[in-house]
């Protein structure tokens, strides 16, 4: 089965795969995670607000994002972002934004919907009495949220947030559909150039597996640790 397996092509392409491809994948994952958690938390606070003007649009946004495939969302933003950029800076024609920025915005906006649901569960896991205690002390909404509720919500939800980030890391491979050179894109380019599909795709699978699996072990350990403290 491995008689015709060409390990050499993998070794030759390692610098390209990791320096170009994996750097893109990891940067995209990190930025999308940071942005996703930030906007996700804001969305969660909006969804839990008692004002319909805040909770209805947030709910609609989250539900729509969660019911369409990521591939479709990637296409949407790839074509939509240039128009939005033009609208923001008042340019008469769509602005070329670049694949990287387009990907970052897409994943931030898409993952925000998923992080929102996690943060919502996190905020709801804090007993209401703590919020009331905050108001009784004379703290306003942002003070209560910022100093009492959110720190605990983040703490309780850290394992789930990280699990979602592992999923995000795997999902970034889908930027392939707009021909961006992430890790899988780089592997695929070499696979097609040298006609080494078997080698490159199995290697890509192994790399993704090793990274995701080790991260999931970290999450598991964290979960066990937190379970004792709580």
């Amino acid at each position: 089965m491995f008689s015709g397996y060409d390990f050499d092509v993998i070794q030759r392409s390692l610098p390209y795969l990791f320096r170009e491809g994996m750097t893109f994948t990891l940067t995209l994952t990190a930025l999308a995670m940071a942005g996703g958690i930030f906007f996700g938390t804001l969305l969660a606070m909006m969804r839990l607000s008692r004002f319909p003007l805040l909770n209805l649009p947030a709910g609609a946004y989250v539900n729509i994002m969660r019911s369409v495939p990521l591939v479709l969302v990637i296409f949407w933003f790839y074509f939509l972002v240039p128009y939005i950029a033009a609208w923001i800076i008042g340019a008469p024609r769509p602005v070329a934004v670049g694949a990287f920025l387009s990907c970052v915005i897409t994943f931030m906006m898409f993952e925000a919907a998923y992080y929102c649901e996690i943060m919502r569960a996190g905020i709801q896991s804090i007993p209401r009495g703590q919020v009331q205690a905050g108001s009784a002390l004379g703290l306003n909404y942002w003070q209560t949220m910022g100093t009492i509720v959110l720190p605990q919500a983040f703490r309780n939800m850290t394992p789930v947030l990280l699990t979602q980030t592992i999923i995000l890391f795997q999902d970034t491979s889908l930027v392939y559909v707009i021909s961006v050179t992430d890790f899988l894109g780089a592997a695929s380019k070499i696979a097609n150039r040298d006609y080494r599909l078997v080698e490159m795709y199995t290697f890509a699978a192994v790399v993704y597996f090793v990274i995701s699996f080790s991260l999931s072990l970290v999450v598991k350990r964290l979960q066990a640790k937190m379970a004792i403290i709580r």
């Binding site: 019911s67 495939p69 479709l72 024609r93 998923y114 592992i166 491979s173 889908l174 999931s216």
Partner: protein, 251 residues
């Protein structure tokens, strides 16, 4: 500044099969066909693996865990490529060539179904395991106490309860499989998203195409959620309130 043209849906599609709307709806049928076939695989393998992982047999549990970790930690797109490009090369030459020469769309439909089926089976297995483990331990013990064998305990006591508990998470897995079937466009399956992309390329009506697809996905989701809600109500165990502990992470 973008020139909307909603009448595009009623204009003839590039492949000459009818209107663009018709073209997209055929895409929806392909998405559903892919998702349903894959769901059969996912549900059967997932139930078996999930159940085996709760048994007292240590090496079976370990094997089940390994299966789950492998399919959970490789991106769906990579798995899709493995099924489409790599597996036919690794099989004996005659069989591999036969697979490669399957006429379209079957050449991409079959790998897509296998890939999505196994990918989702792992998620189903996790839900089924969580469902069984959420039952009070006394139920299994009671089964043993009245003289049931282990398979009988599962058949008559644990599984009928567990499957009802995991209905809601399984519904969301089914919705996921429909969404995930869009990844099959990368191996050339013209399902809903693939056809949307084709419509955008041929008609240059980018946002009309994407809006229609978004709406079709939303309606499909809504219909399935409503149907499943009816089914859940029918199958509910009277007086039993319980749910599998479900982590909200996912996609």
């Amino acid at each position: 500044m973008y020139n909307w043209q909603w009448s595009i849906y009623l204009q003839p599609a590039a492949d000459g099969s009818g209107t663009w709307l018709n073209y997209l709806l055929v895409g929806l049928l392909w998405s559903l066909a892919t998702a349903l076939s894959a769901w059969v695989i996912a549900l059967s393998i997932g139930s078996i693996v999930g159940t085996l992982r709760t048994t007292p047999m240590k090496w079976v549990v370990r094997l089940g865990n390994a299966y789950v970790e492998i399919f959970r930690n490789v991106p769906l797109l990579v798995q899709m490529f493995l099924w489409f490009f790599v597996i036919p090369e690794l099989l004996p030459k005659g069989l591999g060539d036969a697979i490669k020469q399957m006429p379209p769309p079957w050449g991409s439909y079959v790998p897509a179904v296998l890939c999505l089926g196994l990918y989702t089976s792992v998620r189903v297995a996790e839900q089924v395991r969580a469902g069984i483990q959420s039952l009070p331990r006394g139920q299994g013990m009671a089964g043993t106490a009245i003289g049931l064998t282990l398979p009988q305990t599962y058949r008559y006591v644990l599984l009928p309860m567990a499957f009802r508990i995991v209905m809601p998470p399984l519904t969301s897995e089914f919705l996921n499989i429909i969404k995930n079937s869009s990844v099959a466009l990368t191996i050339g399956l013209l399902e809903l998203t693939g056809r949307t992309r084709a419509m955008q390329e041929f008609s240059f009506k980018v946002f009309e195409a994407f809006s229609a697809a978004t709406l079709i996905y939303l309606i499909t989701n809504l219909v399935i959620v409503l149907l499943m809600r009816v089914l859940e109500k029918k199958l509910r165990v009277p007086g039993f309130i319980g749910s599998a502990s479900q982590a909200p992470a996912g996609h």
